[in-house]
């Protein structure tokens, strides 16, 4: 096997194919569903929104496309993009191929927050609308706690932070399990559904709520590509090259965690995207984070929308948990690519 870095032409081809996949995924997200509307009619309506041609959909069809499918598709794009780029930056900043966006306790904190909200709805202490807010707050508290436990991150090594994340996640998960144990069976089912992640409750208001966080965090993560490449020579060497390693680590972790927390609060815990997408992209375009991160944004967005389209249609009218579909598609693809190229992790 050649270990030569991929040439620019290969990178351009992969980027172009990913953009095509992204557009195809977006169209699928709008077109596919229990009510058949017709691909060209939906595409025509999209162009009509851009001021080109005429919208031929009925008002019912318009409502289905623009109020049900479109926000779900857009939230899927945002979630896939954010989780994938956060996974890539975590893998870069921790120089650990097993890192994913939930590494520092985001999932455990959000899970605890959401469980608290769902379990205590019956008590009148909180209302259902509190679930995303408490999930977000729980996620951010968990990461902040990990940062503090891990020696404030500025003084500690990456390994110390990872171990702190493991400890904090275990602690919060134990509290969450205790809450579930005290809950009614109905609440437990709702917690379980939330933990598996879903885009079913997507609306334009949820899109608008997470949009600013996600866009800013994705931009920060993508801009960190050059820093992550430079930091691949290790902490001491990076510092000798003029890089403020711990400050870069803080910014990257903060952006990845904030964006992930925002997404998790809206769609629950969708696994696999954050770890698998950056690896697939790395296998296709090489080990430079300047290439991995922007392409992961596109790839992750396309991947999650395709997965969600399958999740809501494959067993219609009931939906499969999104996390099940992402794993069922992603794992075989990853194994296939891995069997072709075995050595790539930096």
């Amino acid at each position: 096997m050649s270990t030569n870095p991929p040439n620019p032409r290969r990178v351009a081809v992969v980027t172009a194919m990913t953009i095509v996949a992204l557009v195809a995924a977006a169209i699928c997200g709008l077109v596919v569903g229990p009510t058949s509307i017709g691909t060209w009619r939906v595409v025509g309506a999209v162009f009509a929104h851009l001021g080109i041609g005429h919208d031929t959909m009925s008002s019912l069809q318009s409502t289905i496309v623009w109020q049900l499918r479109a926000p779900r598709m857009v939230l899927g794009l945002l979630a896939g993009a954010m989780l994938a780029v956060a996974g890539g930056t975590y893998q870069g900043v921790f120089r650990n191929p097993l890192a994913d966006p939930y590494l520092l306790g985001v999932a455990a904190g959000a899970g605890l927050g959401a469980t608290f909200a769902i379990v205590d709805i019956g008590s009148g202490l909180v209302t259902p609308t509190w679930t995303p807010l408490l999930a977000f707050v729980g996620a951010m508290i968990a990461v902040a706690f990990t940062w503090l436990v891990g020696g404030r991150g500025l003084r500690s090594s990456a390994a110390t932070l990872i171990l702190a994340g493991v400890a904090v996640a275990a602690l919060l998960t134990s509290v969450q399990t205790y809450l579930q144990q005290q809950a009614s069976s109905g609440s437990i089912v709702r917690v379980y559904i939330w933990l598996l992640g879903s885009l079913a409750s997507a609306s334009w208001s949820s899109v608008l709520l997470v949009l600013p966080y996600v866009v800013i965090c994705i931009v920060v993560c993508v801009m960190a590509g050059r820093a992550l490449d430079a930091m691949s020579v290790g902490e001491d060497e990076s510092r000798s090259l003029g890089i403020r390693v711990r400050q870069v680590r803080f910014i990257v972790i903060a952006a990845s965690s904030l964006g992930t927390a925002a997404i998790v609060s809206a769609v629950g815990l969708i696994g696999f995207v954050g770890i698998i997408v950056p690896h697939i992209v790395r296998l296709l375009v090489g080990t430079s984070y300047r290439r991995i991160l922007p392409i992961s944004v596109l790839f992750g967005a396309a991947f999650l929308v395709f997965a969600d389209t399958l999740a809501r249609t494959i067993m219609a009218p009931s939906e499969l948990p999104l996390g099940v579909v992402t794993a069922a598609i992603g794992a075989p693809v990853f194994v296939l690519i891995l069997s072709v190229r075995r050595s790539y992790v930096r």
């Binding site: 270990t3 030569n4 430079a230 000798s240 390693v245």
Partner: protein
Amino acid sequence: MSWIDVENLRVTAGSKTLLSDVTLHVEAGTWCTIIGPNGAGKTTLVESVAGLRRIASGEVSVAGKSIAQLHERARARLVSLVPQQPQVPAGMTVQDYVGLGRVAYHGLLRAPSREDKNVVESVLDRLSLSDFAQRDVVTLSGGERQRMVLARALAQSTMVIVLDEPTTGLDVRHQMELLELLKNEVADCGLTVLATLHDLTLAGQFADRLVLLDEGEVVLDGAARDVVRSRELSERYGMNLRVLDVDGSDVIVPVRH
């Protein structure tokens, strides 16, 4: 004029003192090599000069500027480092690796400028690495790899370069080649070199000055020719060292008891 000034340096790790009251001044455009047995504190000293160690007391200055007071980027424009065991990231081209030496100039958000690219090309050319520029760094041999690490340090365009056992893992020919390349840079660019070396013969042949370090203290400091002939050297290494004159060059040979 002195480019490296170490004054009463003390470095600790927990309760252990790694360097104790070390004072050292290295003149501009000269080559100073630190020698000493394992655990003497050589790596700690060069890493302190590179600004990578927390100093318990004392002062380290380069070009009159306190290293501890400088931000990483300003420091990287003053001192470059060739570490003992450099990390070589798979999948990176030699050109990109050497280009890391320019990060202190173009920063982490901007692409390298034309000047940055010119510096990298020049260094690759001087160190005979141009033919490997687009190769993956992991495909290089040990000698080529060490030249590449030196190239990255030279791309930093600093006036001071510190090297920690730069010849580790290289055969005799590649050791000599690497040190000759560095010697040429000293002669051509007026570089100031602070290096550690285990090989006393190479240390004596390439350095203008040798500093013998033992148990964190400076034991001997002088012209290379004087230090290698000192009785103290044998005593500190705990063995009988003989100096042979081969065609005008000192060769240090350990003698088995």
